[in-house]
């Protein structure tokens, strides 16, 4: 029988019995034994694990003095030398959840595996799940027994150095690390099984969980178009005629920028579309359909806009992974900000 796994438990001021909201400013401290729900956690660990210490921190302190708190937690962990850190469960409490995530990060920085428990809708989940192992719990402390049992199971496996399988199999919150996986049965059979489950009201676990696209806060509006410099970007695969830059037609890993300083419009003699996702011939006859230079020059001439920015940016959008698109967008955005562009027209095909 091997040595019991050394576990450190992280709690906030409330679950440690220090006090409620009014004590949320309390700094980091440690006690050499299980505290509060830690006693249930110890019972769940049985002889296989031993809580060698409980680290406590006030939720407000962890939020407002995060760097200092993480530092202090790290020092306590270094002194306690656990094989694993268990944080929470925080249930639906957002600040406690964030503090648990911070504690887990402090542990990871020391090479100590860590697991936090909280409700899947806890705001800390979306913010930190990619880097923090989170097991789902109920919304409130009525779910304590199940939460503690789950945390104990994961703690023992992590403490023994076991690698975990995928989230879908093991039951922890997905960390967004989607990978190839052989499910052992043909897709058509799984689809028909899932259909029957759905039709008969049985629970269904989608093989692809819903993941909402990112939101970006909208930028403030342009106050005065007549004094604004407007830039154009297109994902329609616009290239110089003959594609001398040898841009690809799909799966782009870069964009090209072109000067329109001396151009009143895009002409078929100078430009064409090279994009594997749509019929290019119409744009080839009038490239302004995907980069509206002719229109903007017209409006610039009338004073409706201040100026057309000298540089326009082009790439084929088709087959671009989101991560690549983000990178390309950031790069273009940085360029345009440096050039003090006021607003952008982006044409997509």
């Amino acid at each position: 029988m091997s040595e019991p796994v050394r576990v450190v438990h992280y709690l906030n001021q409330f679950f440690a019995g220090i006090g409620g909201e009014e004590r949320a400013d309390v700094g980091v401290s440690a006690r050499p034994e299980p505290v509060g729900p830690g006693r249930a956690l110890q019972a769940a660990l049985g002889d296989a694990g031993r809580i060698v210490g409980t680290v406590v921190c006030g939720d407000n302190h962890a939020a407002d003095q995060e760097a200092a708190a993480v530092d202090a937690i790290g020092r306590e962990l270094a002194a306690l030398r656990p094989a694993v850190l268990v944080a929470g469960p925080a249930f639906a409490s957002g600040r406690y959840g964030l503090a648990c995530a911070a504690a887990c990060r402090a542990a990871s920085a020391l090479g100590i595996p860590a697991v936090a428990g909280m409700h899947p809708d806890n705001p800390a989940v979306e913010a930190h799940r990619q880097h923090v192992l989170i097991v789902p719990t109920a919304e409130s402390a009525t779910g304590m027994p199940a939460a503690v049992a789950s945390l104990a199971r994961f703690a023992l496996r992590l403490g023994r150095g076991e690698a975990l399988g995928p989230a879908e199999v093991e039951g922890y919150v997905s960390q967004g690390r989607r990978r190839v996986w052989d499910r052992g049965r043909p897709g058509y059979q799984r689809a028909l099984d899932m259909l029957l489950d759905k039709l008969h009201g049985r629970p269904v676990v989608s093989e692809v969980p819903f993941r909402a696209p990112d939101r970006v806060p909208p930028a403030a509006p342009v106050p005065d178009l007549s004094r604004a410099t407007i830039a154009m970007v297109t994902t329609g695969g616009l290239v110089k005629k003959g594609n001398p830059d040898r841009q690809v037609a799909a799966n782009a890993t870069r964009y090209h920028r072109h000067s329109v300083r001396d151009l009143e419009a895009l002409t078929p003699a100078g430009w064409e579309a090279y994009h594997a996702g749509y019929f290019n011939h119409i744009v080839n006859k009038n490239p302004n359909y995907i980069l509206p230079l002719s229109f903007l020059r017209d409006l610039e001439g009338k004073g409706a806009i201040g100026a057309v920015h000298e540089w326009m940016y082009a790439m084929p959008g088709v087959s671009t992974p989101v991560a690549m698109a983000r990178e390309l967008g950031r790069s273009i955005g940085a360029d345009l900000r440096e050039a003090r562009v006021d607003g952008v027209l982006l044409v997509a095909t």
Partner: protein, 82 residues
């Protein structure tokens, strides 16, 4: 610190669902800013309406993905001109 982007797309609902904040309805994927089937003058006028709507969108505060109608740009331009 950011700058507003007026996105012109023929598949505009998709642009909204995936988080573009200022979206203008384009004509068709194959010819976003205009329609060659209308003949040169009307094609240009249509493209101009779309572009004006996109520029108008740049001047409007929004709180999230918002669709702008190419015909609204026309009305706005008339208002500016007077």
């Amino acid at each position: 610190m950011g700058m507003p982007v007026g996105m012109i797309s023929a598949i505009y609902s998709f642009a909204l669902t995936t988080g573009a904040n200022r979206v203008v309805r384009g004509a068709r994927i194959e010819h976003v800013c205009g329609d060659p089937g209308l003949g040169p003058e009307k094609d240009y006028a249509y493209g101009m309406r779309i572009v004006r709507a996109a520029l108008h969108a740049l001047t409007v505060p929004v709180t999230g993905p918002t669709l702008f109608d190419p015909h609204a740009g026309e009305a706005e331009e008339d208002a500016h001109a007077s």
